[in-house]
Symmetry: D2
Subunit: 294 residues, 4 copies
Amino acid sequence: MKLRGIVSYPITPFAGGRVDEVLLGRLVEDMVGAGVHAIAPLGSTGVLPYLSDEEREQVAEVVVKRVAGRVPTLVGVSSLTTEQTVRHAKYAEKVGASAVMIIPMSYWKLGDAEILGHFDAVAKAISIPIAVYNNPATGGLDLSPDILSRLLRIPNVTMVKESTGDVNRMHRLVQLCGEDVAFYNGSNPLALAAFVAGASGWCTAAPHVIPRLNVELYEAIERGELAAARRSFYRQLPFLQFIVAHGLPRAISAALELMGTQVGPLRAPLQPLGPERVAELRQILVDLAILPAA
Amino acid sequence: MKLRGIVSYPITPFAGGRVDEVLLGRLVEDMVGAGVHAIAPLGSTGVLPYLSDEEREQVAEVVVKRVAGRVPTLVGVSSLTTEQTVRHAKYAEKVGASAVMIIPMSYWKLGDAEILGHFDAVAKAISIPIAVYNNPATGGLDLSPDILSRLLRIPNVTMVKESTGDVNRMHRLVQLCGEDVAFYNGSNPLALAAFVAGASGWCTAAPHVIPRLNVELYEAIERGELAAARRSFYRQLPFLQFIVAHGLPRAISAALELMGTQVGPLRAPLQPLGPERVAELRQILVDLAILPAA
Amino acid sequence: MKLRGIVSYPITPFAGGRVDEVLLGRLVEDMVGAGVHAIAPLGSTGVLPYLSDEEREQVAEVVVKRVAGRVPTLVGVSSLTTEQTVRHAKYAEKVGASAVMIIPMSYWKLGDAEILGHFDAVAKAISIPIAVYNNPATGGLDLSPDILSRLLRIPNVTMVKESTGDVNRMHRLVQLCGEDVAFYNGSNPLALAAFVAGASGWCTAAPHVIPRLNVELYEAIERGELAAARRSFYRQLPFLQFIVAHGLPRAISAALELMGTQVGPLRAPLQPLGPERVAELRQILVDLAILPAA
Amino acid sequence: MKLRGIVSYPITPFAGGRVDEVLLGRLVEDMVGAGVHAIAPLGSTGVLPYLSDEEREQVAEVVVKRVAGRVPTLVGVSSLTTEQTVRHAKYAEKVGASAVMIIPMSYWKLGDAEILGHFDAVAKAISIPIAVYNNPATGGLDLSPDILSRLLRIPNVTMVKESTGDVNRMHRLVQLCGEDVAFYNGSNPLALAAFVAGASGWCTAAPHVIPRLNVELYEAIERGELAAARRSFYRQLPFLQFIVAHGLPRAISAALELMGTQVGPLRAPLQPLGPERVAELRQILVDLAILPAA
């Protein structure tokens, strides 16, 4: 699997306290239709850690079946324990995921041997590729470029998603692993800098709202059109900053509601954005011509 | 419930992949016998987040029954979702816990309204007291003295456990809530400073190994014997620093094994301390006359 | 020199752009008269880094002469270059200072060898004791307990002033250097915790305003009266928090002005506290019965 | 003055404890000859804060005269006090500097009004443009994009040098001030990301060693050749990382010595790189074909 471009993260919509399978399918369909290059269910945006084991399996299956091989699927399978991570990784493989993505969630901070042991155990249990996901702001554990480079030596650990928002981490990864290292940027406001540093892709929930702008930025970079890439980036930046500042599930849900799609309540303790934030978001969407001016 | 003194945190021992109920009972018995003032199962030390729902219920029941009212029990019931937290809080109340303890675990950082809503929902569901637990290093969310003081206005939220290790947080809590505020220190190396600042208790896993030293420090403070308290504190400090530096479940398990009690493997991805660390710990226990010199 | 107790830091008053020698003498006299145990001119409070070389010599001389041996004097001699630090240390010795205090100010962060070389050069140039001052918030360089313990092996480096506000640093210093290590706390809100941890003294500008409360806290600790010490501490804490939050020269100057002493303008770019802050300070002084209620 | 490209920072060479004017002139000549776009004496690299007032005037005059208008000169005039900053700014203007650069050095952290007052006072005293320099790692004060945008409203404050190493700061500056804002990147490893984000220039001491690579990167960006820019960047990155990690004056001096130019001792407490670091640097220079393989 050679994955490049926009890796799109669906939210998990709810109805009556359960996953809304129909809407989830439609949201994924919209993304694929808009030209994104991969679909990644059960990420932070999809509130993975807030779902039960059964819901996680349900989401994995619904999304992989709906995508039906048109683009690769990267299914999030992270759990606090190694045993549960292996369980979900096997399930993802069984339902046909192209790859799994794992953030080493921590309560107790993990040492290097513990991190390596965790990934090694999952890698031995499945045959599909694994993407290591580094996001200390949510997962609570920071994987240095050095430990990432060691994880990439595990045969089917082939990708890194970096969400620290520090482009220097990406530079060091390239220096440690060579310019062909498959790393993906998960920090939305770093989209331009990361592509320029050599990122293979951009992991983002933004395609729920601005898929064409996301793809446009990637394509400008691919064509080497720096001025066009910069223009596209600054155009979408206020939206990217907003969704990062206010939490992806909250912000994307609010945007979808403003655009007319009812995605159901967030799972408590998460609450929807307050009215001031929603007004701010509405203006950003007006500026992007996604919503009409009031 | 007026709780003061040493609040003791048992590890969760395993055997054959399951909770070792017999050993858990014995460990709790040892603590009660040594004079600690409360027992708090299902804390960070007890690897709460790594247990299944069933295991959590099992541990709560075993410990509360074993303590049998001789000292208060504070049962950890934290979960990422409000719904699961309520479920475990109700179970703790049902089996007879004196109080529950809740750390607002976070994946997505919570805003003030979300934190308040979370505790409010649990408080409405049970009748026993609630202790709010602040530990950003494990839970990923930092509760300011201000939000703690607001949580204490919820009727049955009556206690705060502070584990940031910053004595200034405790000063501010006293300033905001009055000198009778029931706050407990969860940062082992801050034990002396916290008692002096007015802490009602010290939440610690150290009584697995040095219960008499822990109680001695508290009693010296209670008698206003500053020099004795300082002497006791510096005597136990190397052990306290060690267990904090290397993770409570790993360090306490290693100490118990050195002292002859087999507590079973840690739950992966957690791994036992390496041999160098164990040698360092052995020397600390020798210096404390807990182990004989080699 | 065995120094214990309240080490008092005078501000540097100005009149017409020059050091106001008369007022400086009077402020020092007030402190000595109120019972403080040492005087430390040319500290952060005395805006040392904002003074010319000539002004620094002037302040050193005025203060040392005025104190006239009634209590020890610790003269700040810190400069960015070693050469200038040596120059000022020699001058302090010449005018009769009991000791000098040195914060290794940094623009470029210094390595261990550079720090040791800096103190070694000063130590060789003078015969009076040296106090090492650690305050990363102002000096820009953080001296670990380990490097502090190495500095204390230089023969006439005999004291440490710790202003990080982390009581754990003090614990480690005692562990590394023994319980007789002469360390002084420079973080005002940590006054109680530091004394309890074994600090020999408290370095503070507060005696400009509340000298008796400062001395009272120290004396309660000396008598081992924990409850009295805690009561005294919490009484003065709002004032201590205020002066730390708003910068010692700004806050102490404002307090002195409220109490009727005109200390002249701060040296630009420093500016006086705004009216809202002054009102807040006035209320604190009213609560302490230093000012009458409006 | 429309300044774009490579802004080159000379070290300050010493001989016999004094500024080596002849060598300083030659180093500047080398930079201009190699095609850099501006010369900036008395920066962090030039150890500005470690120089006496007289040495600062000497360096300013020597460099401006040597450049003789062939490229713009930006003279560093930062001091802790406003009065001294004004004095040096006036001197720089008098000797013919194109502009001055000011980092608001802090001992006591400055509030917004103090920062604005500081720059306002200097701006009123001179007629040439002012560049605001933000570098919390050396200056100790962090200027937010918001306060930078306010400083840019002072008529002759026309440029910003950003050295935080966070590309998001640059994005916000563009958002606040418009895409024509003249900002310059001072974080060497961020050279590529900053240019792509819209930086007008790159402030760097690297042209002492690799001027053609520095200019090559800028020119690739100017031509919109993204792949060439990336290649050039990764080629020079190990050198850039090294000089940042070990302090610009230490690292550049060591490189010049390895290349055969004796630049004299650093000013104490700064010390030269140790032999291991020098060996590491030598290998980097060998890899860049600047030194022959051993």
